[in-house]
Symmetry: C2
Subunit: 250 residues, 2 copies
């Protein structure tokens, strides 16, 4: 497959959902043309899998929106332990949590080959001052980030490992369906078990065991990073504690 065409398709899909649509005009033009556009078009950059977008402690000059490819943000504590704070899908804003201290609080890595839009903070603020509509969108985006983080906390508040995994999978399904617009049953995990476990505050062994038990229960098909949701209702049922217990006994 021609990678250029593939990228273009991805870009079109991503931009239709992008938080920065009001200040961006990529639309139908080809990538090489985009580069030359001056006005509202944002600097772009492509990253390969595993490449770092920004680094913890680095001064913040820009925020980022993935246009294609999933990213992870990850802090490293003083003792060297890594903690994945979030996964970021196309159209989602990254870096906002850094602007209070003006330094990134985490590393950001591309989990797949990716294309990223970079928004210089200065451009962001001037655009917001001039266009009330964009300012509104920006606030909405900030609110979304915050809501996402709250959902992460709510996920971690689920005591049992299988509740957390179920809730995570449902979240992935919903994000995929929001992008594709249709009901999805298959999930491709952009992240490995290690990142997944860190995000869920579990060990990779526990994640693996949970996948296996979901497979044995006939709820999930597991082939490495390709998952298939076989029984969506029971998966949803597991995502709350009461539901989880009754499902497990059944």
């Amino acid at each position: 497959m021609e990678p250029r065409l593939f990228q273009t398709l991805l870009e079109q899909r991503a931009c239709s959902d992008c938080v920065l649509k009001p200040m961006c005009k990529p639309a139908i033009v080809r990538p090489d043309e985009l580069e030359r556009m001056s006005d509202h078009v944002l600097p772009r950059r492509s990253l390969s899998a595993g490449e770092r977008l920004y680094e913890q402690g680095q001064k913040v000059r820009s925020l980022f929106v993935s246009q294609a490819g999933v990213f992870k943000t990850e802090t490293s504590a003083a003792d060297g332990r890594l903690q994945v704070l979030g996964f970021h899908f196309p159209g989602e804003l990254m870096g906002l949590e850094a602007i209070a201290g003006m330094r990134f609080r985490a590393d950001a890595f591309a989990l797949e080959p990716a294309v990223i839009c970079e928004i210089p903070l200065s451009a962001l603020e001037t655009a917001a001052s001039r266009q009330p509509e964009f300012q509104h969108h920006l606030l909405q985006a900030a609110g979304s980030c915050l809501a996402d983080q709250q959902e992460h906390v709510e996920l971690l508040a689920m005591r049992q490992a299988d509740e957390r995994v179920a809730l995570f999978l449902i979240g992935l399904l919903q994000r995929a369906e929001r992008i594709s617009g249709k009901e999805e049953a298959s999930i491709h995990l952009a992240m490995g078990r290690t990142d997944l476990a860190s995000y869920l505050c579990l060990t990779i062994e526990t994640v693996s065991r949970t996948f296996s038990s979901l497979r044995d229960a006939g709820i999930l098909g597991v082939q490495g990073r390709h998952l298939t949701v076989l029984d969506r209702q029971r998966l949803i049922g597991m995502s709350g504690s009461e539901g989880a217990k009754s499902t497990r006994r059944a």
Copy 2:
């Protein structure tokens, strides 16, 4: 003590640190005079301990900043379980996470007698459009909220109960010191063990036991909700896993 005078003192202290300082002019005037001021002065309201400020699912018309008194935000899941998402000290913005869906995602309760500033969303956005400086502050405030949430996740990522408790106490100390400007050793908990446990994703028994073991180790003085940090260095040492292990063995 005259409650009116007491309130006024609290207001002055809180406002000096308030995220909304640029759009607010309370300063020295007495509360009853404030009520009548029109321009930039925000609607105020006082709540008694336990009173609800806003409710999950309610439509968002305003955001809030505590001026005096600590608040908690708490979601109730479908199965009735409650989860405390955050504690909010004077000067901190509340409700931003709701604006993406235009509905509050949690209940907010005053934990103590409190005074609150209410900021209608419309006022917020118009003020931000007109004053680039205020828009900047607003973004910073959003970033702070996000950073706080991330710290909460990092706290929950601490595996051991004593690490979480230690990290939480250190956070409280820092918030108190940021407000008072001087080093603090005593902590007054505005919240009960139940809210604390929920926030830390532990049971109240575990929290209680952890306090007791910190007391027995000579690190913390515990008298109900009044805590005294006796050995700050060891407390800090416990907040990372390596430190916690070596401290525990010593």
